[in-house]
Amino acid sequence: MSGFLRQVYTDTDLTAAGLMIFFGFFMVTLVWVYLRKGAKAHYEAMGRIPLNEGDVCE
């Protein structure tokens, strides 16, 4: 088992696999954030969170 895992893990194709995982993940995030409908207004509101912190009480 451990021998098999070692063989699999030290395969140089793993570098490519790692890259592909990341690339897939990245594309999904991009599509999600930029292409969904109605997201723009929401994100603008999100960006304003630090600026709307309520009124200071005396």
Partner: protein, 715 residues
């Protein structure tokens, strides 16, 4: 979907804890900068080591780095997180008691570090030097911080988690994983231990940790602070919130893989090096995405750059961040690393990040927070400007001198003449050449420290003018249970899912990189053609670690013509397979020591350790005269060897049982040799003998020498 059920509520923030962290940050910034300046001066002028064990460079440098990272940057992060989190979530911290335990616990850890490091308690792993009791304390306090933070998330009045908070979450989760994995160690005394990792394994785990300490202690939390304080200071929202999402996931996912770029051309397997290099280059994109997002936040408000010192510090910080994150990937390209690695270029690179990015962003935050927390105005904008220019000049001087020193020395090491011989065979020649640059660097550090002192005065006057110190109370709208949202929006509302996703993002790279090397180790150990160190050599090795020789010496010869000519055949994976911890090093202020064994007679080492100038006239190495007085701890050797045996180093039970006696015997023969060669008599119980035994064993542990034609050399 729920309709809005928001209502107005009053909340009083805990600002007292922020004030405490802020002041602690300033106190320890002073300590870290002063220690750094002294260390810089010691390299320019060796007598400043003063032959005091606790002040010598090898012990001072770990104190400096730990103080800068964990005391200065750590307290800055906590101040910023406690302040901004309460406001972003519209709630007080979950528990005032936990906040207090976190604060005092952390300061106690710092004090323990400030005492134990000068005393020489060290694990010999960079930025992870602190010994096991302190490691446990760090874990506990970090858990308390995490509980307090996630507890606050749970009681929040703002449903959505602003981007700064994601960076905080990634920080808390990842630092926990890094610290725990890298600190798995077996104690052999109440203040000493050996890591379970060894050799190439330890190297990979350590630099996975070391690199990601930069990523998740000095980058992600500060990016979180940037995403909060820059919009606040400029009074406009961040340029693109969407970009910040891409920035976050890209950065967190990619960063964790980049560790092996610290190990290019070492005996780490090639595929892991390639992985580290590729991901480091990819890292350039999210880093610059974040920088651009920050800088463009100021679009239409660039005039603030002229009038507002806070904005000035922030813009400079972001610019230094951009510079450092451009240079990092560059240095990760193997051919660039071939010149830059082991030189002061890396030190310059680090300081562009640490002084420029972390330093300036913390200063900006302090200038922003102090008037707010003490309910007054900053004493002097002019002094803040003076601080800015002093600091800026300091960083530029520091950076330029170190890059120049690094490239100069890197090229000198590699220079090969027409007959195929080294142009600079004497290592010390390459040191002497850059000493003037060490002076320039120290001057840069002095400017930076001077600027900081101006800030201290400014802050002191500001606080002194304050008449009222109270916690801020605000009226906020509770939107906790409003619309549920979709997609990433919903994700932001779901703390647990979000944290788990972040954890997965960092674990993918960690597992793929580290797992195979862990098993590789057991495979090599079976076939290794290597003898473990003798008990006396172990004692010497522990002295080597205690004195921090690894901060100036590497033990890893790269497969390059110039290195093979200078030091001997390239280091192999087997050679350090029993090294708990590995001592490959990261900087060569002095020459590589991987094969120094048998290069010189014992007496040479004796004289060199007591006074390096007596054998190498222009040496800048500190003197270690106390090693002649202090006695070797023979008794603990049984325990040490037994711990090592349990960790898989092939000692026989007899060697464990007789470790002290075997060591004493070997010590006698080394002492005799020193005496025979014309040195003093009666040294057998002195530490210097153990250290010499270790140095003479370096590179000598192969059972049968390899045929030379197996050595592959690339250039």
């Amino acid at each position: 979907m729920n309709e809005t059920i928001s209502r107005l509520e009053e909340v009083t923030y805990d600002d007292a804890i922020v004030r405490k962290f802020l002041l602690a940050c300033m106190v320890f910034a002073g300590v870290a900068f002063a220690a750094g300046l002294l260390a810089a001066l010691q390299l320019a002028f060796f007598p400043l080591n003063m032959e005091l064990p606790w002040l010598t460079f090898g012990r001072l440098r770990p104190l400096h780095t730990n103080a800068a990272i964990f005391a200065f940057a750590g307290n800055a992060i906590f101040a910023g997180i406690y302040h901004s989190t309460q406001r972003l979530l519209k709630t007080r911290m979950y528990s005032d008691r936990l906040s207090a335990i976190h604060f005092w616990g952390w300061q106690l850890i710092i004090v323990a570090a400030a005492i134990s490091l000068p005393l020489g308690f060290s694990q010999g792993k960079e930025y992870a030097e602190l010994e096991w009791p302190i490691d446990i304390a760090i874990t506990l306090i970090w858990v308390i911080f995490a509980v307090n933070f996630f507890g606050t998330l749970a009681i929040r009045r703002e449903k959505h988690m602003y981007v700064a908070l994601w960076f905080y979450i990634a920080t808390i989760v990842t630092v926990a994983v890094l610290h725990i994995v890298n600190s798995i160690e077996i104690p052999w005394s109440y203040m000493n231990s050996y890591p379970v990792w060894a050799g190439v394994q330890d190297a990979l785990v350590q630099w996975w940790y070391g690199h990601n300490a930069v990523a998740f202690f000095l980058t992600t939390p500060f990016l979180g602070l940037m995403y909060y304080y820059l919009p606040k200071a400029a009074n406009r929202p961040v340029y693109s919130y969407r970009l910040s999402i891409i920035h976050f996931w890209g950065l967190v996912f990619i960063y964790i893989w980049a560790g092996p770029h610290h190990l290019l051309y070492t005996s780490l397997p090639e595929w892991a090096q390639t992985l580290g290099m590729i991901f480091s280059i990819m890292l350039w994109a999210p880093s610059w995405g974040g920088m651009i997002n920050g800088l463009l936040t100021l679009r239409g408000a660039w005039h603030l750059l002229r009038t507002d010192p806070i904005i000035k510090f922030m813009v400079a910080a972001l610019t230094f961040y951009g510079m450092a994150t451009f240079e990092g990937p560059l240095l990760s390209i193997k051919s660039v690393s071939a010149i830059g690695h082991y030189t002061d270029w890396i030190v310059g690179h680090v300081h562009a990040g640490a002084l420029g990015w972390n330093g300036f962003l913390s200063f900006a935050m302090i200038y922003y927070l102090v008037p707010k927390l003490w309910k007054t105005k900053l004493y002097s904008d002019r002094l803040a400007n003076v601080h800015f220019w002093l600091g800026f000049l300091g960083i530029v001087l520091y950076y330029v001198s170190m890059v120049a020193a690094g490239i100069t020395q890197g090229l000198m090491w590699k220079a090969i003449g027409p007959e195929g011989q080294l142009v600079y065979p004497d290592f010390v020649e390459t040191v002497v050449r850059i000493v003037p640059l060490y002076w320039a660097r120290a001057l840069g550090g002095a400017f930076f420290l001077g600027g900081f002192m101006v800030m201290c005065y400014n802050v002191y006057r500001t606080i002194a003018a304050s008449t009222e110190v109270s916690n801020e109370t605000v009226r906020v709208r509770n939107t906790r249970y409003s619309s549920a949202g979709e997609g990433h929006r919903a994700l932001e509302g779901m703390v647990t899912v979000f944290s788990v996703l972040s954890l997965i993002a960092i674990l993918v790279g960690s597992v793929i990189e580290i797992y195979p090397t862990l098993s590789l180790h057991s495979y090599i150990a079976k076939t290794a053609n290597i003898d473990p160190y003798s008990p006396l050599e172990i004692a010497g090795r522990d002295i080597y670690i205690r004195e921090g020789c690894y901060v100036c010496h590497s033990q890893q010869i790269r497969p390059m013509v110039s290195e093979v000519l200078r030091y001997g055949s390239p280091s192999t994976m087997e050679e350090s397979i029993y090294d708990h911890p590995f001592q490959w090093g990261s900087k060569r202020t002095g020459p590589d020591l991987a094969r120094v064994g048998k290069k010189y007679p014992d007496l040479w080492h004796f004289r060199h350790m007591v006074d390096p100038r007596s054998v190498v006239e222009k040496s800048i190495m500190p003197s270690y005269s106390w090693l002649v007085k202090d006695k070797t701890d023979f008794l603990s050797l049984r325990k040490k060897v037994s711990v090592l045996r349990n960790l898989g180093v092939p000692y026989s039970p007899e060697q464990v049982a007789q470790a002290d006696r075997l060591a004493e015997e070997q010590a006698k023969s080394v002492a005799q040799a020193i005496h025979d060669q014309g040195g003093p008599e009666g040294l057998e119980r002195r530490e210097i003998v153990a250290l010499i035994a270790y140095l003479q064993a370096l590179g000598q542990k192969e059972k049968q020498p390899r045929p030379t034609d197996q050595v592959t050399v690339k250039e």
